[in-house]
Amino acid sequence: MGKNFLAENLPETTVCSPAEVRPFYDDFHGDLMEISMGPHHPSTHGVFRMDVTLDGEIVVKLKPVFGYLHRNHEKIAEGNSYFAAIPYTDRLDYLCSLTNNWAYVHAVEKLAGITVPERAEYLRIILGELGRLINHVCLVGFLLNDLGTSFTPLLYSLRERERMLDLVEELTGSRMMCNFFRFGGLRTDISADWLARLKGYLEGLFARYLDEQDALLTGNEILLARTQGVGVLSPELAVRAGITGPMLRASGVNYDIRKVDRYSIYERFNFGIPIGAHGDTYDRYMMRMLEMRESVKIILQAIRTVPAGEHINPNAKNRGLRPKAGESYARIEGPKGELGFYLISDGSAKPYRFRIRPPSLINLTVLEEICIGQTLADTVVILGGVDIVLGEVDR
């Protein structure tokens, strides 16, 4: 039998020509190259992998691969009490744990019918917007670093973040894992002195940072050349794919949950929602820069008008909370988009179902569409503009 497979015994027709065995693309007889970027590539913002297929330097296919940071968050929360899930939410999007806390306690408050005192709502808005500032400062710094403006803007951004984190640490005890929101309010009250220092900082050094950043880079020719028209996301696709947050607004869709849902007491504040026009990476960058100015406005208004009162509803139960059977979905406008928590209670002390709608993950789903046709170097910039945190994507 064996001798039939020797080369000289094979019939003429089974010999393959080189063109048949090797893949080729269109009429162009160049080879495609598949590159695995990550999971430890410095510009993938965490343990995230992109399987990129390249034709020359142009991306023809891109497959995002995630799950390297999966920590079983939802299941852990289902095995614990409602109260014990709060510190775990810090670890979702670890750049802005304050807003994660908020979204979760908001869902539980809806489920158990807990009311929040007036002062606590004001303080929550101050902290939530501070979380947005911290997130956007990081994003702007890292995006510019991805662009190759090596380090200066990143260090300026991290310097400001450090100043804000010092304030956060002084208040909550931890720089990033704040664990500060409680059902019905906040863990501790915030002193007038702290608020005054936050106000002084935002009006002083932070305002200067924003102006400086604008002067340094917003109009810079290199930044314009590298980001304008890169990674264009059409408003139709954005809506169909469920994109939210600054990325959706950069595509020109006017949708901000702070205005749509009017949760908490946002309707009392005077602030604008920046809207982009082109849906490219430059607009995404601008959304963040403009949103920071709006957030500063909200915080300053809130500090000016915060009433005296309780920082937590004294009747709200945190430990041993047993909401009656039912379900709730609550969402807030997180710095990255719609952050929602879906809870089902069966009347016991543990949630029957605990589900998170992570904005980073859903914003990532269009990555292939907006990367196709761009160069490999641009995918890094596009990914930076999408703003993901892998703790939230993988949970």
């Binding site: 510190p87 450090e162 640490e169 810079n220």
Partner: protein, 180 residues
């Protein structure tokens, strides 16, 4: 005009570079750790420790082994066994109090739920060891620290706790006096 962005950028970085020499508010300086230590805010939390009053870590321990912290700890890293006397009656103090700091996430929930102000969050962070199993499982003698230590690290918090406890003791004293 092409090139203005570069000039503007250079102007701003130069301004930052020079400005930080003259204005200390603008600059973040590197501390020469471990020679210099950063000033830690009072609220800072690392890992929990147990407080004892007076000078005896066993007699003065505030913990009554109610196991509230053990039950509420999200990753369940505390384990407590209550002391029993010869007849098997449960005494109000722990025989074993173990804290696995390789599991603890420093959330501070144990300190928040303890009704006796016995467990508090520590400032001590230089805890590196050469071995990663037993030396990270802290036992009672390692965890017990005096109230003086707590007063030093948390002046505001300790004052509030001390006043609360003094009031409670006064009330208890007046109650035992009134029927007599």
């Amino acid at each position: 005009m092409l090139g203005t962005g570069i000039i503007k950028g250079l102007y701003i970085t130069a301004k930052n570079f020079v400005g930080t020499y003259f204005n200390p508010d603008e600059r973040l300086t590197t501390l020469q750790y471990p020679e210099e230590a950063a000033c830690i805010p009072e609220n800072y939390r690392n890992f929990p420790f147990l407080i004892y009053d007076g000078s005896d870590p066993v007699e003065g321990l505030r913990c009554v082994a109610c196991k509230m912290c053990e039950n509420e700890c999200p990753p369940r890293c505390i384990s407590i066994v209550a002391e029993r006397d010869e007849k098997g009656k449960i005494l109000k103090r722990p025989r074993v109090f173990e804290l696995d700091i390789s599991v603890c996430m420093g959330c501070g929930i144990c300190a928040e739920v303890c009704p006796f102000d016995s467990i508090k969050m520590d400032h001590h962070f230089e805890i590196a060891t050469a071995e990663r199993f037993d030396s990270l499982r802290l036992n009672l003698p390692q965890l017990a620290k005096s109230n003086e230590y707590f007063r030093k690290t948390h002046p505001i918090d300790a004052l509030a706790v001390d006043t609360k406890r003094a009031e409670k003791a006064n009330k208890a004293a007046s109650k035992t006096q009134s029927p007599a």
